[in-house]
């Protein structure tokens, strides 16, 4: 075999690249990843891709079943709801609300949680113990209950739901960051860079973060699947997204009255939520699997 490398030195892939190389080999994880990218694409470009507006009613085409049904119409691929709104367009716009917002929510709470978590990992003694107990209390309250209380303070609406879920997710990120940073700080390479005279911040930024970023990503996928379910649940209960926003949970709640005559208005949004959560979980599962394999190798 011809040597492609002229120089003898070998380039070792970074921890992150190693993870990607293992991740790439798991087919289910890759399927999940492709679905995940598709959903992000859909969330970003729904207004350009959707055939109709999500709120525009076609009153001559009310409660049309999906196109494969014998009464279906191919120009409304997934049928219409009771006001003649195209289900496909509503679901596409819904992707940017339910999935897109959950993505934003996770990123906001990730940033805030990681900052607070890494700062708190550097504290010791009573301050640290107090924070630990406080986090335990917050984590023992059911997330939905906390979200409901926050919505009760701020009032219903999709933007308030987003803040509520951000608040619910932050403690989880603080917890995991704190734990991971503390664990890394005990290792020798941190000691080495300390002996070189690095400040706490420098150790954190250049030594610790590159080593915990995958663990944070795996937590982020868990948080995202929880966020999708929470946004949809609050929308379903009528305290999240308000009418006529095409949020998946809200579409489902809207179709509930006509469940028996028009079951597709309930099946389709439910399937979309399931699809989004499964895609997210597959990615998360893939990351965790790759992390485990990397540790073993």
């Amino acid at each position: 075999m011809a040597r492609e490398k002229i120089y003898q030195e070998e380039v070792f892939p970074s921890p992150f690249m190693q993870l990607w190389l293992i991740f790439r080999k798991t087919p289910t994880a890759m399927i999940g990843f492709v679905c995940f990218l598709f959903l992000i694409f859909l969330a970003a470009f729904a207004p350009f891709l959707a055939p109709y507006s999500p709120v525009e009613g076609h009153l001559d085409m009310v409660l049309l079943p999906p196109a494969w049904h014998e009464n279906g119409n191919v120009s409304f691929l997934l049928g219409t709801d009771e006001l003649g709104r195209d289900m496909l367009s509503r679901l596409m716009y819904g992707a940017s609300l339910t999935f897109g917002l959950s993505f934003v929510v996770v990123i906001i709470s990730l940033i805030i949680g990681v900052i607070i978590g890494s700062l708190s990992a550097l504290t010791k003694g009573i301050k640290s113990s107090f924070l630990n107990h406080f986090l335990d209390v917050i984590l023992s309250i059911p997330s939905l209950l906390l979200a409901i209380v926050i919505v009760a303070i701020l009032g219903p609406g999709i933007s308030n739901t987003v803040w509520a879920i951000v608040m619910v997710l932050i403690p989880q990120f603080i917890h995991i960051t704190r734990y991971a940073v503390k664990e890394e700080f005990r290792k020798d390479y941190v000691l080495a860079s300390r002996l070189d005279g690095a400040s706490n911040f420098r150790v954190l930024y250049y030594s610790v973060f590159p080593n915990i970023v995958e663990r944070l990503m795996s937590q982020a996928t868990l948080a995202q699947s929880a966020a999708i379910l929470d946004i949809a649940t609050l929308g379903f209960l009528g305290i999240g997204a308000q009418i006529p926003l095409p949020e998946w949970g809200a579409i489902l709640a809207n179709g509930l009255e006509r469940f028996y005559i028009a079951p597709w208005t309930v099946y389709l949004p439910g399937l979309s939520i399931l699809f989004a959560v499964v895609a997210t979980n597959l990615v998360g599962e893939g990351i965790r699997h790759a992390l485990k394999l990397r540790k073993e190798s």
């Binding site: 209390v137 309250i141 059911p142 379903f236 305290i239």
Partner: protein
């Protein structure tokens, strides 16, 4: 064990302080007057209002107000519900047992299906049945619970007509409420058709409890699988294998007990998750529990109810949490030492 108990007690007191502080501060965060949010007295006269102000010490600084609030809570006075103008504590005493009943039945179902499946998956590690169980678990974990509830109603109640779709028991039966837990009440009552009532109550709880149990069961599958795999890789299992014990002996006498202990610890942590799911399920199955009541009180802007509901429900979860900690410590001597606040 004494030090362990004291530590837990300390944690419990701290938690109660934080929770009451949280619910106390809610009265200022909710729209409207804090005293009215605390007491729920909407239609009181000037004199009555003055008395309420006095009892919550509103003229003093905020620390005294907080103590006055705690005093009220200890006496069991959570104020009046804003929507029904009846004491919140009475409503909670009726509703909370229904939620406890539902979540405990669901927890049992989840444990008795999830843990054995997880063990099977671990024993068949990396084989087809392991993969099948894992992928089913993944789906169970991802299904939105309200959708699952609706599908279950459509399939089992409307389609097949096997099980009732709403409520706790048929209205034909008149059961006197003593403990609030329906099954105990039925067994204690001396009504002639006790067994029909019992069957009816069982038929009512199966569907919602199974819907609630699905997601926690999948989590138990994963936990059980992980802990069993871990145990099977230890050297004492290799030692008994070398001794020539049969497969059943290895699993049932040695591996099972050690794997179970690790799962018990997570039961408490899963309980918060389970109650969240139960809250949504109560709405769908019209189960007269505290979750449905809380969600309705949001529509009615019943701030007193939300505040006390939050307090009571999180206290309940925390107590379960601590109880499982105790059971874990009683079973596993290794867990009694060390570790603050974990």
């Amino acid at each position: 064990m004494l030090i362990f108990t004291l530590r837990r007690l300390n944690l419990f007191i701290f938690t109660m302080l934080v929770l009451t502080l949280l619910s106390f501060s809610l009265s200022f965060l909710f729209p409207g007057d804090p005293v009215i949010n605390l007491s729920g007295q909407l239609n009181s006269t000037e004199q009555q209002l003055a008395v309420i102000n006095q009892s919550y010490r509103m003229q003093d600084n905020i620390i005294w107000q907080y103590f006055a609030y705690i005093q009220h809570i200890i006496q069991g006075d959570f104020g009046l519900s804003m929507s029904s103008q009846s004491p919140v504590i009475d409503e909670i005493m009726i509703l909370l047992p229904a939620t406890i009943e539902l979540s405990l039945v669901a927890l049992l179902i989840a444990m008795f299906t999830g843990i054995p499946l997880g063990f099977i998956a671990a024993i068949k590690h990396n084989k087809t049945s392991d993969n099948i169980i894992l992928s089913v678990a993944m789906f169970g974990y991802s299904i939105p619970v309200f959708w699952l509830g609706l599908l279950a109603i459509l399939f089992f109640s409307i389609g097949l007509g096997w099980l009732p779709s709403a409520g706790r028991i048929s209205l034909l039966f008149e059961i006197e409420m003593v403990t609030g837990i329906q099954f105990f009440d039925i067994l204690m009552s001396n009504s002639p058709d006790k067994w029909q009532a019992f069957q009816d109550a069982t038929a009512h709880i199966i569907l919602p409890a199974c819907v609630v149990a699905l997601a926690p069961a999948t989590i138990f599958v994963r936990l059980a699988r992980a802990s069993m795999i871990e145990v099977l890789e230890t050297s004492y299992i290799r030692a008994v294998k070398a001794k020539g014990l049969s497969f059943q002996q290895i699993i049932f006498r040695h591996a099972l007990r050690n794997a179970l202990i690790k799962i018990i610890r997570h039961v408490g942590l899963q309980f918060a998750n389970l109650v969240t799911i139960a809250m949504v399920t109560e709405v769908i199955f019209s189960w007269p529990g505290i979750g449905r009541w809380l969600i309705e009180s949001i529509y009615q802007r019943d701030y007193t109810a939300i505040q006390s509901g939050l307090l009571v429900l999180s206290c309940f979860i925390f107590i379960v949490h601590i109880l499982t900690d105790f059971i874990y410590a009683a079973l596993n001597p290794l867990a009694r030492g060390n570790k603050h606040g974990s």
